[in-house]
Symmetry: C2
Subunit: 187 residues, 2 copies
Amino acid sequence: MQEKLREHIEKIIKLTDEEFSFISQHFITKKFKKHQFLIQEGDDVKYAYFIISGLLKLVYTDESLKQHIASFAMEDWWESDYYAFFTQTKATMSLECLEDTEVLCFTLDDYKDLCDNSPKMLRFLLEKANFGFLASQRRILYWMTSNPKERYEQLLKQYPSLFQRVPKSLIASYLGVSRETLSRLSS
Amino acid sequence: MQEKLREHIEKIIKLTDEEFSFISQHFITKKFKKHQFLIQEGDDVKYAYFIISGLLKLVYTDESLKQHIASFAMEDWWESDYYAFFTQTKATMSLECLEDTEVLCFTLDDYKDLCDNSPKMLRFLLEKANFGFLASQRRILYWMTSNPKERYEQLLKQYPSLFQRVPKSLIASYLGVSRETLSRLSS
């Protein structure tokens, strides 16, 4: 499981065994069953998660109790309610398993310790943060300039496996359309 | 002008004079007049900009030549077509002055040199990247869960000065509504 983390980091920056050993001490392993929550709205957010296997949904529930999928997270992704994690405030989103899931995770203290004591991990985290920022910025633009049909086709092209692994109702929520509209798009 | 950059960085991390002197050597100063472009779609993106004074719009033009405002950028903000900057590809957005503007900017080589040789700047850049990512993520959620009237009121509350400094047509473009809808919202 640690090996997957190492491979993931080394896509960006090479590590010696000693460097990786120091980094991996900051992570703990957790396993969850389908339907379990890693984060529930209103709770403290103790961890940021690196997903070894499985699939999760990050969900925001609005005042009318409508659920909005902020993102799906699968193998090789990082996920958390990052705002709550970094500011140590209560979760405004929930993170729930759509499949049995294995993760490695760290606390904010461990994150800070890594930043202070592992220059390579700091470089890695900067790359990931930049990438996350760019992906979000592109998603905003895409949301502004696309229609639901285009969003559907883009998602299908980018993550074909999602359509096997996730109920249609959740795909619809992620795309910001009704279940009926999605049926029309996918027919 | 350098003093403004130092204040800005020191909101996150304190610097010695030597540390700041090293950092500031990586920046150059540029001045632009209203309507000048810092970045034009299709060009190389040589710099990321820290805005000392002035106001800019980051614009994406879609296939039907409709302009979408990705963001406004003002004093104390960083802006660029970051995707093109980091990947050294051609700009897909343009960055244009809405007022006379003064900036400090760095190249990607200078950015990398700062990351390699200034641990404090690396920490600062990670904080900013995390913040940018969080802000974008919240904007996506807000976009999914709000209507144009709520977006208008939120923008007015968060950046009241924008409404004095920016033509209404651009505010409408940022909110994703027509000029007529905006008039109705603001009346």
